[in-house]
Symmetry: C2
Subunit: 370 residues, 2 copies
Amino acid sequence: MRTFAQIVAHYLRKQLCSHVLLTPTNLSRNKASISDLARQLGVSVSTVSRALSDKASISDATKKKVWKLAKELHYQPNHLAAGLRKGRSNLLGVMVPHIDGHFFTMVVKGIETVASKAGFNVMICQSNEDVAHERKNIETLLSAQVEGILVSLARTTRDFKHFEKVRKQEIPLVFFDRVLDGLDVSAVVIDDREGGYQATKHLIQQGYRRIAHFGGPQYLNIYKHRRQGYIDALLEAGLPVEEELVFYCDMTQEDGVRGMQQMLALRQRPDAVFSSSDFSVVGALQELKRHHLRVPTDIALVGFSNETFTSLTEPMLTSVDQRCEQMGQSAVRLFLEMRDETSSAFSPRRVVLQPDLLIRESSQRPGRRQ
Amino acid sequence: MRTFAQIVAHYLRKQLCSHVLLTPTNLSRNKASISDLARQLGVSVSTVSRALSDKASISDATKKKVWKLAKELHYQPNHLAAGLRKGRSNLLGVMVPHIDGHFFTMVVKGIETVASKAGFNVMICQSNEDVAHERKNIETLLSAQVEGILVSLARTTRDFKHFEKVRKQEIPLVFFDRVLDGLDVSAVVIDDREGGYQATKHLIQQGYRRIAHFGGPQYLNIYKHRRQGYIDALLEAGLPVEEELVFYCDMTQEDGVRGMQQMLALRQRPDAVFSSSDFSVVGALQELKRHHLRVPTDIALVGFSNETFTSLTEPMLTSVDQRCEQMGQSAVRLFLEMRDETSSAFSPRRVVLQPDLLIRESSQRPGRRQ
DNA sequence: GAAATCTATGCGTACGTTTGCGCAAATAGT
DNA sequence: ACTATTTGCGCAAACGTACGCATAGATTTC
């Protein structure tokens, strides 16, 4: 415990200093701070602060003066400081498995667009499909004091422990696309089942009867649901679900080639394929051309994701659009809602986007255009 | 000026308060701060701070205690506060014209990857190809106290005023891909001329003699340079540069269709096309197929950018790879170098990446494979 | 046995903002 | 002319962290 004399001495010293230096014009490298403005104008920092944020309690004359000098000195408000004081960083964290391909790119675009419109800056990170990275990134985002986290899970993520901290700190958490089922969290997803259903139903309507399916890893919900839609459509139409017509793979282009080879080797070939990914459709298409089979005359094709190239192939590929950009937008909106809510009643919402079947050449049976 | 009595009174009050409240365990919502740890452990904040950053001056016993409690309370360091104190935000700002398409996506991926490896968080924004947005974004990034800014210019950007502030604050500024010529700034670009040159030279080597060019807006350096490379290659081979073989457009797929129509209408058709964009190559390809002309037998095609779909078309398209990801990586590395430099000697560096011609089917004259 | 050197810790302050409270001066109400 | 009320501004306390400086005790040095 300091003695009374020490306290006094200290205070006198401080007064003295500030009197001697008087105008310690910021040496701290070419950055004007709010107190620099205050000093040069002979007003207090509070006045400057309030003037800059255009509060009513400051006279117009003073405001003008402050604004003028601020412009002259190229004053730049310090978000870190403001954030620290206000407890609001204006930062939104986003984590995706990776930033390539069409899907996540467009989601990020959607996120950035509406986030910045709402005055938020977005911080991006990639989990590289790896839980360890995911954990570390969450830590980083939390440290950065983001006001919300938007995340699409890595493939390998099974458990949820690393998100506990986020909830405990009552930071809005929104998942998109890749979600863990049965978890009580906010999320925006597309109705994958419906997508698979529509795609398959469309093929049936076009008169195709022996429809194959290329599916992805079934532990991923998106693929499971797309397959379910496929099955539902078949059953609804009274068509049999034959296991030999279903090919599971990792949905690459090469997988598509292999899948089609397998299909063509069957005694009874399919007359159409619904694939859970556009990439494997392209593979399939290439294999078909190699066999001089025509699409959609001999075999029809429908993909999923509406990748850029689907309208560039020949024939152009029918595909299910995932509304990527809208997904990003919805995710941000969900975050904003959660934030505005009385943080006590914290009911996770879930937004389900409807997929959009884009019918192109690869699935329209000639002479039967709908 | 406060009276001496006031000062003393204030100080006594303060002492009193802190004594009465003694343990004001943080009410501030479920976030443990460094001082919470300190209080619970009965040590000073400085000790905790030092323990957390594993300084040598703290005993192992104390460190252990601190770490243990930190874990228990889910302590989360506050980057804002640390940044404010240290004058280092660990934030890197990135501005791109937009985040769709292949190119910028991959650049961003590259940036994020090496930035996060260097301990930086990246803040993304889009200028939407608009100077006004660009200006506003720069302000935002500066306010966020980013330690560096990586930017690819909007198309319409002609002047440089809004970047002055950045330089004045001595914040490392690195341009990539879209740069203003003759400006003394750090930048990483690819050698577009070389790309155009190699592409054209390759066509010549394959035996094509009447080579057309689809070019983009010439006020954009990238397109100007690619065209220059095209011309250089022709001249080098002693071939004439004919204006009727050059088609200027915005490089969309539809432009490609139109361009090819124009070429096919010529009395003397070209036998190859080098396009500054893959998209217009696809358009050209479609138009050719419509006319039942074969690629590359009748007309060869070479594009630029190595878009995803170039290896999915039929025939697969030869294209110039821009090393997008590497460009992002280089940009970050350049930033890191600039930062480490004695900020006095501040010599702008420029990195020129070599493009990579990827020879695929669309340009290999049959029976003449190299 | 006193002086020098470590070792481990505490104190105070600064980083740049925002904001509740207080207080004068100017204006309004009676 | 004498209280109320407004208007305009200042004071100082936060926000959470980092770090220079001081210091008490333990250990070594001569």
